[in-house]
């Protein structure tokens, strides 16, 4: 009889198998390689050279290039999370989930394996972006540990968004629709924030939204942990941005509490139609 420890070991083992399967695709699917490496490079360069000089320091007192790198990181990992929903919808469409569902594997493993491997995709994107950033003059001005903390906050937030996208993918079931639908939400979410401009420059209601937008707090957290803030440009006086790490992690926990059970439930029912 399998006891609960065996069940847990099986669930971890199954999720590992699925994670490995997903990661193999990064090198085998050209689109995916471009998505994870080339487009992040392009974003860093684009923002650094096109907007970096045009927008100026926006009263942040920091060189704009340095200011926007954390924003580009945040936007890219959030976009990266859409891949979770895209891939699950694709697996559903191609019948691979039917095959998985007919196997005696742990019911959580497909979604867990997916979201975990998408952390891997975001790690690759972050490394590529950080290297590109360093080349164009971005610098980490804190300790290695703090910088690592910055990357972890970004990854944790993207992981949570992945779980939302998993639910979207399992409900929508068409990869292209998942992409288009989530871009409609993610574009405003990542732009009505402190990612590329100082929140002061936004009109009233948008500023309020940006103040409490978790994309702002994750960006602010990364900026602080990388040491890319400046004393002359303090973040707006709202709790979310004064305590960006805590506020971001609060969102992460809340999202996971809702979407982990929801997505696993959706997975169990997604195939049974």
């Amino acid at each position: 009889m399998p006891d609960s420890r065996n069940a847990l070991a099986e669930a971890v083992g199954d999720a590992t198998v699925i994670t490995r399967r997903n990661l193999r695709k990064i090198v085998r699917v050209p689109d995916l390689l471009v998505f994870t490496t080339l487009s992040p490079i392009m974003f860093v360069l684009l923002f650094a050279y096109v907007f970096g000089n045009a927008i100026g320091t926006q009263g942040t007192g920091v060189d704009y290039k340095e200011f926007l790198v954390a924003g580009v990181f945040a936007q890219t990992v959030v976009f990266g999370a859409t891949f979770t929903g895209y891939s699950l919808a694709e697996d559903l469409q191609k019948g691979i989930i039917d095959r998985f569902r007919s196997l005696p594997m742990s019911p959580s493993s497909v979604v867990v394996g997916r979201t975990v491997s998408d952390i891997g995709i975001n790690v690759i994107s972050l490394v590529v972006m950080a290297l590109t950033g360093l080349l164009v003059g971005w610098r980490i001005r804190t300790s290695v540990l703090e910088a690592l903390g910055g990357f972890l906050v970004l990854l944790a937030f993207a992981f949570a968004i992945s779980w939302i996208m998993a639910a979207v993918g399992l409900v929508v079931r068409t990869p292209e629709v998942v992409n288009n639908a989530s871009f409609m939400v993610i574009f405003p979410l990542t732009f009505i924030a402190n990612t590329f401009v100082a929140i002061d420059s936004l009109p009233g209601p948008l500023a309020t939204f940006a103040n409490w937008n978790p994309v702002s707090s994750v960006t602010q957290a990364a900026r602080e942990l990388f040491g890319n803030t400046h004393p002359s440009a303090p973040p707006p006086d709202v709790w979310a941005l004064q305590h960006p790490v805590a506020y971001t992690l609060l969102w992460v926990v809340l999202i996971l509490l809702v979407f982990v059970p929801l997505s696993i439930r959706l997975y169990r029912h997604a195939a049974s139609r």
């Binding site: 039917d98 569902r101 007919s102 196997l103 005696p104």
Partner: protein, 332 residues
Amino acid sequence: MPTAIRATGLVKTYGEVVALDKLDLEVEEGTVMGLLGPNGAGKTTAVRVLTTLLRPDAGAAEVAGVDVLRSPQELRRRIGVSGQYAAVDEHLTGFENLDMVGRLYHLGAKASRARAHELLAQFDLTEAADRTVKGYSGGMRRRLDLAGALVARPPVLFLDEPTTGLDPRSRLGMWDVIEGLVRGGTTLLLTTQYLEEADRLADRIAVIDHGRVIALGTADQLKAQVGGERVEVVLGDPAQLPTALEHTRGFGLAEASVDERDRRLTVPVDGGSEDLVELLTRLHRGGVAVSEAGLRRPTLDDVFLTLTGHAAEGVPGPASGSTADVSQEGVA
């Protein structure tokens, strides 16, 4: 012989559409049951219910001694499923696909690898083992998918339209493979729209229409149930079909069925060669040019058309329009 698959009163509806309408089914251990029916008859729905992919609205099912609804996870250890569309990962190699399935059956790393190599050899895929499936032909994908269903050596196997969409040569290859499996004592439930396939592979055939079994038996029993023989003529000129029909009126056991595409008239008879001569004489007198003629025993095609024709239209004897359609589907 003990029963390997038993379904009782399975019901599944999608809004207005009744996919399964109190379906009953029993398959003895070590035998092949063919579920035969047109598209939308409920074959795939039945397989999905029996393989835990779908919960029925009502009814019960037991497979390999396990209650499908109560112990789905336990059942999944004992069955193999190969679906209508090859569910293989095209970005993985053939070997990686099978190795992954082995691990998800919890065979362990070493046993999974060994089993994957064994199956690749069995299905003539060893050479392609380390290529990604993207470059495989349709037949190779199907074989790999079937191999995936066999990884854990399941006592009960479900194949949902295993040869749909394959070219004739791949189909013959697939039939050989399936026959080999069955010789090993595996219980097989096979769905198909191809009568020839059911005739060749299945010990017993359940004809399904509108979500229920409308006839059940061996191929010979089903053919006998339809009775008589068939006189078949192929006309030289399709324009003469109406004239030919005119001359067959009142001849044979039931009205002739017409396949316009093949310019073919089929008439059920019970008088053997005399009826053949009689029909040819009538057509000759009527000035109808015949390019081929013959007498044959009923095929499963006839069984299928007679049975589903009744069910679909509620008229005795197949009506020409719909039978032509179904027969095209049956032999396509």
